[in-house]
């Protein structure tokens, strides 16, 4: 019992640490908020384009719902372990984390998760204001499907985290790996449904984009939350998420283990 209490205390302390780090640079926080409202600019844009009739199966209201949900999901699945890990490998800060009784990976998980409530608290009023301005959004109306939303969001978060962890581990060999993450990010912005729903893509490209991990991180949870998916589609999407997580998680685990050996060999 006391070990459990001890673990909870450790987790709570680390969560407080993550929170404190997040609010320490207030200007950076502000810039991050501005960056994160980009889906809402997309909303205005596509809403204007859909003025004289729906685009594909999206009318103005559908675009409102889609992009507000995209904005919120992007907040909920965010993490930044790639930059932290990349830096701590290069300057040796990782050694300090390795000395602690908590795994550095778990450390990053807790630090990243602990800021999610803050992110949501900042994002929710913005989303709400947009909803008031545009006249509401439609959400999933099947209550049983809502049961899928928490696991889907958790998987999306884990996918994003493990991808970042994998790329960050490359820093063990490359010294600087964060720029490589730009490759993922560039493809993500185009293919995840962040800038435009993937179902509107030209035939062929759409089918390909929808099985890629980018869509599993953002587009799929969004489509689920605005009620565009049936039970069977939702389960297929969930399966894809799990499949990608197994693959990327395995890569991350291998890279992390081998990387730690390379890191020790460096003597950093």
């Amino acid at each position: 019992m006391s070990t459990l209490r001890h673990h909870l205390a450790v987790v709570a302390a680390m969560a407080r640490l993550g929170m404190a780090e997040a609010v320490a640079y207030r200007v950076s926080l502000l810039i991050w908020i501005v960056t994160s409202i980009f889906p809402l600019i997309s909303l205005v844009l596509w809403r204007a384009l859909a003025e004289d009739g729906p685009i594909g199966d999206y009318d103005q209201g559908d675009f409102d719902s889609y992009f507000v949900a995209a904005f919120l999901v992007r907040q909920l699945v965010a993490s930044w372990v790639v930059w932290d890990l990349d830096r701590s490998v290069r300057n040796g800060d990782l050694s300090v984390l390795l000395l602690r009784p908590v795994s550095p990976v778990l450390h990053h998980v807790i630090i990243n998760v602990s800021v999610l409530p803050l992110r949501l608290a900042l994002a929710a009023p913005i989303g709400l204001a947009v909803l008031l301005a545009t006249g509401g959004m439609q959400v999933l109306d099947d209550p049983t499907l809502w049961l899928l939303v928490p696991p889907v969001l958790a998987l999306a978060w884990l996918l994003n985290f493990t991808v970042q962890l994998s790329v960050g581990c490359l820093a063990f060999w490359l010294t600087k790996a964060a720029p490589l993450f730009d490759l993922w990010l560039g493809a993500f912005l185009v293919l995840s449904g962040y800038a435009v729903p993937t179902s509107l893509f030209p035939a062929g490209l759409s089918e390909v984009a929808r099985v890629l991990p980018f869509h599993a991180v953002l587009g799929f949870p969004v489509e689920l939350m605005v009620g565009r998916l049936s039970w069977s589609e939702a389960l297929v999407g969930l399966g894809l998420q799990a499949g990608w997580l197994v693959i990327i998680g395995a890569v991350a685990a291998v890279l992390w283990r081998r990387g730690l050996r390379a890191y020790g060999a460096f003597g950093a």
Partner: protein, 300 residues
């Protein structure tokens, strides 16, 4: 010596947005710096910095792939939303596909120049402000702002700008326009205003760096916002249109030049572009001077 650092970091990172240490003393110790006119000094500084960076770029040719080809690929990938919109519509807010091709060309010119000239200098100068290395720049017999704005270049990123010029010409041929000389001049004028506005925004960001120091994500924000410059200004409504015309004038950078070539830009809009760019530049200069007065160096 700082150059070996640059090589190892470049080879190791090979990333999109990397920063390099640069041999900045070379510009100062060059001969013939004293006793000439101010303009001569400034031009020489720009020429020396350009030459050094071009030499470095030719030395590290991986930059051709990471800086040139890759940014070109992103640029093309970034047009996917436009392509999607054209998939469902014959035109976008009055812009035919060929006119949009011209607009995307202008966008690539602007982002290419941003990646090659503006962003590297911005990163380098922000670094100097944070570390106090700005002291050395202030000692130069040239304007400190000029020193900051030529602090670094990424010549390979110009690949994107060149491709943009190509796309602009393709768009012109495709839409069958034969612009008259005044129309060409107007295009050059508004594109110039666009570049000026871009620099003004960069200087404003740089001035902010004096107060907040850790602001590299401000440059990232600018880069991310540039994605919206790929849409014609007529798509935007209300406050966003005003924002993108006067405050962050994407309209001047990407929409106005093709409109000038198509003969759809009226004189008042051209004058408005000029005024906006000049006002932004003046504001940037004033903010910079104010910020510089507050600079206390890092160690003192």
């Amino acid at each position: 010596m700082s150059e070996p650092n640059a090589s190892s970091e470049t080879r190791a990172g090979g990333g999109l947005r990397r920063r390099r240490r640069r041999p900045r003393r070379a510009a100062v110790t060059g001969d013939g710096f004293e006793g000439r006119g101010a303009l001569h000094r400034h031009l020489r500084l720009v020429a020396v910095q350009l030459r050094l960076r071009v030499l470095a770029a030719l030395e590290y040719r991986t930059g051709f792939w990471s800086g040139g080809v890759l940014s070109l690929v992103w640029s093309i990938a970034g047009t996917v939303p436009l392509v999607v919109a054209l998939e469902h519509r014959a035109d976008i807010a009055g812009w035919t596909p060929w006119a949009l091709c011209m607009l995307v060309g202008c966008h690539m010119i602007i982002t290419g120049l941003f990646g090659a000239l503006v962003q590297p200098s911005l990163y380098a100068a922000m670094d100097d402000i944070r570390t106090g290395a700005l002291d050395y720049l202030l000692l130069r017999p040239v304007d400190a702002l000029v020193s900051c704005l030529v602090a670094d270049f990424e010549p390979w990123c110009l690949v994107e700008a060149v491709a943009g010029v190509g796309l602009l010409i393709v768009g012109m041929v495709g839409s069958g326009v034969h612009p008259s000389l005044p129309q060409l001049l107007t295009m050059a004028l508004v594109l110039g205003c666009g570049v000026m506005a871009l620099y003004a925004l960069a200087v404003l960001a740089l001035s902010l760096a004096f107060a907040a120091l850790e602001l590299q994500n401000l440059a990232y924000l600018m880069e991310a916002m540039l994605d919206f410059a790929r849409w014609p200004i007529s798509v935007f409504r209300g406050p966003l249109r005003a924002l993108f015309t006067f405050v962050v004038p994407f309209a001047i950078m990407t929409s106005y030049p093709p409109m000038a070539l198509l003969g759809r830009l009226d004189a008042s809009a051209a004058v408005g572009a000029l005024v906006t760019a000049v006002v932004l530049a003046g504001l940037a200069r004033a903010t910079w001077q104010r910020a510089l007065r507050g600079y206390t160096s890092a160690s003192s």
